[in-house]
């Protein structure tokens, strides 16, 4: 973003108003900046962050597995102690809001028949952002999402 602003300023300073080769590029933020929207959208809820962290651990999950893992994290209990009610509440939220949101952002693909998620086109970018923040902001969540459920 900083780079873009600098380029616009220097363009204004020119004052001539003349078109120059490459000026069009400077007027428009590169697609890399604009396309960060889906990264923020994807990571804007703790359950979606958790889901994305699990993709770092394994590329394919069923909604049932994910719901159990997330419920265990939220209630701070081992997965074996998650109640059906707790799992169901998370499952419903994943199914009706978080998964469709991530599908819309091109972060994951969802197979409605097997109820399985796997990474899609934009997953790499989101996971890279997550890995960048994991060490400082979200390390406990990341560690839990990436832990062996049977430990």
């Amino acid at each position: 973003m900083t780079i873009w602003m600098t380029m616009v300023t220097s363009n204004d300073d020119d004052g001539s108003g003349a078109e120059r080769p490459g000026v069009d590029d400077a007027d428009t933020p590169s697609s890399e900046f604009l396309e960060l929207d889906h990264v923020y959208e994807a990571l804007g809820h703790s359950r979606r962050r958790y889901l994305c962290y699990t993709l770092l651990e394994s590329p394919e999950w069923t909604l049932d597995e994910l719901a159990r893992k997330i419920a265990a994290w939220e209630h701070d209990v081992p997965e074996a102690n998650v109640t059906d009610q707790q799992q169901e509440a998370v499952y419903v939220a994943l199914y009706h809001i978080h998964v469709p949101k991530l599908v819309e952002g091109g972060v994951i693909a969802f197979d409605a028949v097997t109820e399985t998620i796997r990474p899609a086109t934009n997953a790499k970018q989101v996971l890279r952002a997550l890995e960048g923040m994991g060490a400082s902001l979200d390390s406990r969540q990341e560690a839990h999402a990436r832990s062996d459920p049977h430990e």
Binding site: H45, E74, E88, A89, Y91, V92, A93, Y95, H96, I97, V99, P100, K101, A112
Partner: protein, 114 residues
């Protein structure tokens, strides 16, 4: 958008009174932001009640295709809204049902009357 008292925001041809002959209330559920259950989940549970099915069996459509429940949760129940005593109603369709969410946390599910 507003009723005569000016404190109610509604969308669509939703029931404005309980006696509305076109819609019959079939389920209701209270959403409490302190329960750590998402509004999406509470709405789906209410619709499942109305259909008399397990919430996990309610697969089509996804609520996401009907309403941005996260935005609604933010508007009615997000940080700061409790102290503002926010009022309002949002109504939307899910399948053949009409869902009404009030700022006081009540979710009501209506089906077409006969």
């Amino acid at each position: 958008m507003s009723d005569s008292r000016g404190n109610n925001t509604a969308y669509g041809d939703a029931p404005s009174k309980k006696s509305d002959p076109h819609w019959r209330q079939v389920a209701q559920r209270h959403y409490d932001p302190c329960d750590e259950v998402e509004l999406t989940t509470a709405i789906v549970f209410a619709i499942a009640d109305a259909k008399n099915v397990d919430p996990t069996a309610l697969t089509s459509p996804q609520l996401y295709d009907c309403i941005d429940a996260a935005a609604l949760e933010d508007t009615f129940f997000g940080a700061g809204t409790l102290s503002k005593q926010s009022t309002g109603t949002v109504q939307f369709r899910y399948d053949t049902y009409l869902i009404r969410v009030d700022a006081d946390g009540w979710i009501r599910v209506f089906e077409p009357g006969t």
